[in-house]
Amino acid sequence: MKIGVFVCHCGSNIEATVDTAAVAAASREFPDVVFATDTMYTCSEPGQDEIVAAIKEHNLGGVVVASCTPRMHEQTFRRTVERAGLNRYLFEMANIREHVSWIGKDRESNTNKSVDLVRMATEKLMRNRPLYSKKFDINKRVLVIGGGVAGIQAALDCADGGLEVVMVEKAPTIGGKMAKLDKTFPTVDCSSCILGPRMVDVAQHPNITLYAYSEIEEINGYVGNFEIKVKKKATYVDWDSCTGCGICMEKCPSKKATDTFNEGIGKTTAINIPFPQAIPKKAKIDPDFCTKIQKGKCGVCAKLCPSGCINYEMQDEFVTEKVGAIVTATGFDLFDWSIYGEYGAGRYPDVITSLQYERMLSASGPTGGHIKRPSDGKEPKNVVFIQCVGSRDKSVGRPYCSGFCCMYTAKQAILTKDHLPDSQSYVFYMDIRAIGKLYDEFTRRAMEEYDTKYIRGRVSMIYPQGDRLLVRGADTLMGAQVEVDADLVVLAVGAEAAAGAGELAEKLRISYDSYGFYMEGHPKLKPVETNTAGVYLAGACQGPKDIPSSVGQGSAAAAKVLGLFSKDQLESDPQVSVVDIKRCIGCGKCIQTCPFGAIKEMEFRGMAKADVIETICQGCGICTSTCPQGAVQLQHFTDNQILSEVNALCRF
């Protein structure tokens, strides 16, 4: 094979600490290398043209590019060599940026290491073979996990694009966190007026099947053909006949159930509809508080229900759905702030979270939109907002910025003044992060027009003094310790990964970061893709995000799904395992270890043999290292290819 080597400067990213010309010169001495050069930006148009020209001029049979990580540009260069008429698999990359130039400053060592990596790539390339994809049919249905604003957007865009959508929502209603908000920044328009109609669209769209109060139990299959097992949790109410009339809720004598929708501000009945605009508007029983279920007495709701849909014996149910793609939009949860002992750790009733405050501000909330102190129901005069509670705080394991707290705090301060003109708001902040369109103007308005007092510093302590709370903080701009007598303290609690995010990621086979947020395919170029084909991300499950960004990602994920489904068949990745029938002894070990059931037994001239189903094989290669005969070989990562890399590194 005639091989060409291209060593990239990547501007100064590589050239600054690697002598690329020397790497090219050394490469010329390798067996089969007939051409080697160093270039400024190999991935640029002239850079790619140079490769095409060299392939033609030197009649190259394979190409090595030494530049960045293959996770960045392997696809780019595969298309380049294809343009020049080579099979895309007759190409290898040596990662001399992320793995060399960026992690060491010693030019001699780096250059030497780069030469090693190029040698390794050429040795492997010599053993590469052309590979060709197969086509397979796909199921053009999409699963959307999570019915918050991101999931709703993705579902509606997909459904409007003609796809059948299955939406699975953990809570009894869709709407997510946004449904709990009173108003949104920076427009201060009503959250439920924006979201409400879209929720109704989901319920009424002929292409959308909604499973509320349901969870993902199991996911099998692969892009184009996933099989999903959905657990429909017992609601004790037959939702097919429930009309959402609400009589059961009116009459239920057990009124001490946790009001999850209202963030624990107030209580609700054991049988309840979370809120009037809920979608689906169906009742469900909280078994922990239902007297009938707990003690066998009561049964009021069953007696009164006009459609007779109460069923105290109901069990969880499982249904199976087949889809070709999955959009994950599972959102976030609030940081559990009770770790902050200095803020009372939950001891003081008048220290509440921002989302609790949001429910209090909402006209449909438990206080009917009146701001009242939970302790005594009085209207507060001084309201203190504390930002970065569970954000930018290494000591509680949350060093990241939650992104939207600065904005919603400004909004809440403005709303506080609207509700209570005589009140005074104080905001303790570290930095104001208002980088969206009209965002900074909004926070300025909170200060300039609404006279919100912004104090730059953290709060060290909150403690009761009489019937008020004393908030002791710092004003670092004054260089002073400051105290505010507060009637109500609202903590701008940061965002963290949703509960159960890790378990779901394992079912989806996608990665998550150390905080539980899902990893996108590439931080810049693949913001809604994951490393698992056919699985996409939308919204705050990938990292804290405000509403516009979540909606944007919902649409982006939908566009990806629609793009994927724009063809009737998908091309399989040819990097799959292949059985050498002559060497296979039919022991079946590969069949047992394959995590995907991609290998089946077949008969060949009366003998049992293994057979790989190409479209199911995901290319992990576990079978290859299991096979005692070396009969199953993962294409592009065969024993010979990997060992040639080992030798290239060790024998020189």
């Binding site: 002992g341 200095e342 750790a345 001891r347 403690y463 009761p464 003094q465 009489g466």
Partner: protein, 299 residues
Amino acid sequence: MNKPLNYAYYPGCSSTGTSLEYDMSSRAVCAALDINLTDVPDWSCCGSTPAHTVDHSLSSALSARNLDQVASMGLDSCVSPCPSCLANLKTAKHRMEDAGFRDKVNNLLDKPADTRVETKSVLQILVEDYGIENIRKKVVKPLTGLVVGAYYGCILNRPAELMQFDDLEHPMAMDNIMEALGATVVPFPLKVECCGASFGIPRKDVVMRLSGKLLDTAHGIGAMALVTACPLCQMNLDMRQNQINKANGSKHTMPIFYFTQLMGLALGLPEKELGIGKLCVSPRNVLDAIDANLKEKAA
């Protein structure tokens, strides 16, 4: 108790003077609960705050000499009533795990110190080793009607990594003991605020301000008395209460007990053994009120 509890006892310098009653009551209570305390032979000062403001090796050397004394007793744990001593002894042990620092400290000593001994506070062993429930069982004279706040001071559990005791911001050890003794505990909001520490002499104004605030707050929550576990806190709040009143124009007459004194009373020990008479602000009214309550109940 199944296993006898044996500890080396490090009284600390103030035990011989200003906090005599803390020492007396700690010994009396432990004796009543069959907890054996053996005095560290020929103990010396831990160095307290002044030493670590001069140099960490000096501070650790002064403490290490005592840890070594404990090791020579054949005991593996040591208790001290004083949080300041405790912090110094624990810090010395911790810092001397670093070989370089260890050598530096040993250089200052007659012989290299064996610093493997664990040190705990009297409060900690009573709560963790003896147990609240066991204390509750021993109560013969419940403190019915006593409304008390528990004040812990700043260094009883700080820094958390070193002290490894109780909640950092809302410690409960003394609250729980008081509850077990039958007292009514009001949550004291400034449990871990500083009283002014050793600034009583060089900067009395500081103590007037900080301790004054503690007394005002205790009064505000309706406490009849405060209970403490630190000689310095107790001294600032009790001995200087008159000065505080003068400086701040307040009128506090709030008894400041050591928690061991109240434990002793509830266990039925005589006031004299507990040094009740050594308190500067007389607790007579408060104690009489408890007695009256008891009699009323009995009748």
